[in-house]
Symmetry: C2
Subunit: 303 residues, 2 copies
């Protein structure tokens, strides 16, 4: 069997077999970010993301600055989705040595701009040569134990919320997005979130991940979902991916408190799109005409 | 100017400009491993290494198991060279989806075998598609503050020692080497090492790195350097690279204590190859015929 026939989700489950972790590992393979008990009051968060030329960007359409920005921004978004703060980054870069030095300058300028904005320490990395550019950023973050949010705490009755608007990111946002770090920190500090993820592979697939990890179902409403002007259609917006928005659930009481106190103060819009249901009710999308569609995991699967 | 014309060492120095780090960063860009003050009694070590098909291995000559072994082994060797213990690894893998699943199985089998041997927790990663295989491993380690060894503590008068034998690694050892972790730990726990590095880019270039960072010179002796049977010649052995041996310096008193007490107990041979001198004396190689050659940084530079 070929790797593409197995699919990414099954591949990762298969490769994880036989991996032994000690007691300090709170969340290992399977989440976007590992959670490690390292200090007494905080968890260490540990994540990486690889950017490959012609998969995640095209050299003709992205500036070097944007490539660097995106490479680091994706990992900051991962840390934000756990409620944490990014601290230390390493950058492995495979670059074509025939490229001008100004290209490398631009990539690192993009990374440094974002690192300085969010107080991330760029502490090292590795460089090697390759015809196709590959940039892997690994990032260590930190979160107060009480503020950790994972994918797996969604409860039936929870409301489902999303920041910003989804879809059409490929037209530019995927290269220029601002990781929702300030929003996530402000949320976890003031409210009890039950589950959170950043939308990287499409709203449907990433919500499915929360539901799968939490053992729950959901009902979301077409009329509520905030679709970006850049999206080609509602259907496409649901699986476009690389939105880097926060998707999270909280109890109705907590959501009520959030909308009462926060909405005017938060610059980034937060929209209610549906509710978490019992697992037996499945994952359903209620269309504007009242029809209900059953949702199955799709969106951007890498293999 | 092209990246290849600038060279790797200058490129890294250039890219590091404008990077801001807070006080917790003890060693940032420039060392193979970052050192971070995170807990009270220990430093966090943080390193990454990228393996690229046709640069670091050829698919025809390396088994998937060996590719995985090497990918993780290189980072363990980095942590060992700082005197530390490896703890948590992330693996970013770009793989051709047309490859059989057994290929991915093999790569992860190689990593898991080494991880389990040294108690490394594989806590996650990222997978994506790419025609050429790229595997980036990032590794977090830990070292008691008193046991940290860096490149920059070599003092004139120190003796220079190396584990194992160098050269000819390309004939197979680079795919099957055992990281010198047990040796390094046993050394730093019992002896005072002034500087250490793992030999990845050739004995000469890596010793030059110690001398450059320490502000010192050195005199090493052809007749003392342990050359592997696999090496094509003495000259080639000095710059072959990927030996993954430990190269370190200690005071003559400490070295004497080492040779008196340890040699019989340590399975891996340790050989005295020369002494650290004043910076003004430069870096010299004393040949068997008594002639002295001046050494300039060479070996395997990536661009």
């Amino acid at each position: 069997m070929k790797i593409k026939d197995l699919g990414e989700i099954k591949l990762i489950k298969r490769l994880a077999k036989g991996v032994r972790c000690d007691k300090s590992v709170v969340k290992g393979i399977g989440d976007d970010t590992a959670v490690i008990a390292w200090k007494r009051d905080t968890y260490m968060l540990y994540t990486c993301d690889m950017l490959i030329e012609d998969v995640h960007f095209r050299r003709k359409r992205a500036t070097p600055f944007q490539i660097g920005w995106k490479a680091l921004g994706r990992t900051i978004s991962d840390i934000a989705a756990m409620g944490g703060v990014p601290r230390y980054a390493l950058v492995s870069a495979a670059i074509d040595p025939e490229l001008p030095v100004s290209f490398a300058d631009g990539v690192y300028k993009g990374m440094k701009a974002l690192a300085n904005k969010f107080g991330v320490n760029l502490v090292g990395g590795d460089t090697c040569r390759s015809k196709k550019i590959a940039i892997d950023v690994s990032l260590i973050g930190e979160v107060e134990r009480k503020n950790l949010v994972t994918r797996c705490g969604a409860k039936p009755g929870d409301l489902i919320l999303v920041t910003g608007a989804i879809g059409g990111s490929v037209k530019g946002k995927h290269l220029t997005f601002m990781p929702r770090l300030d929003e996530a920190r402000s949320l976890v500090k003031k409210f009890k979130l039950n589950a959170m993820i950043d939308v990287t592979d499409g709203l449907l697939l990433d919500l499915w991940r929360i539901l799968d990890a939490s053992g729950a179902g959901a009902r979301i409403h077409q009329s509520l979902i905030p679709v970006s002007d850049e999206a080609d259609s509602f259907e496409k917006a649901l699986s476009d991916g690389e939105d880097f928005e926060l998707l999270f659930t909280m109890s109705p009481l907590e959501a009520r408190r959030f909308f009462k106190t926060q909405l005017v103060r938060m610059k980034t819009p937060v929209t209610l799109i549906g509710e978490v249901t019992d697992k037996r009710d499945g994952f359903r999308l209620v269309m504007e005409d009242g029809k209900q569609e059953k949702v199955t995991p799709e969106g951007y699967v890498h293999f």
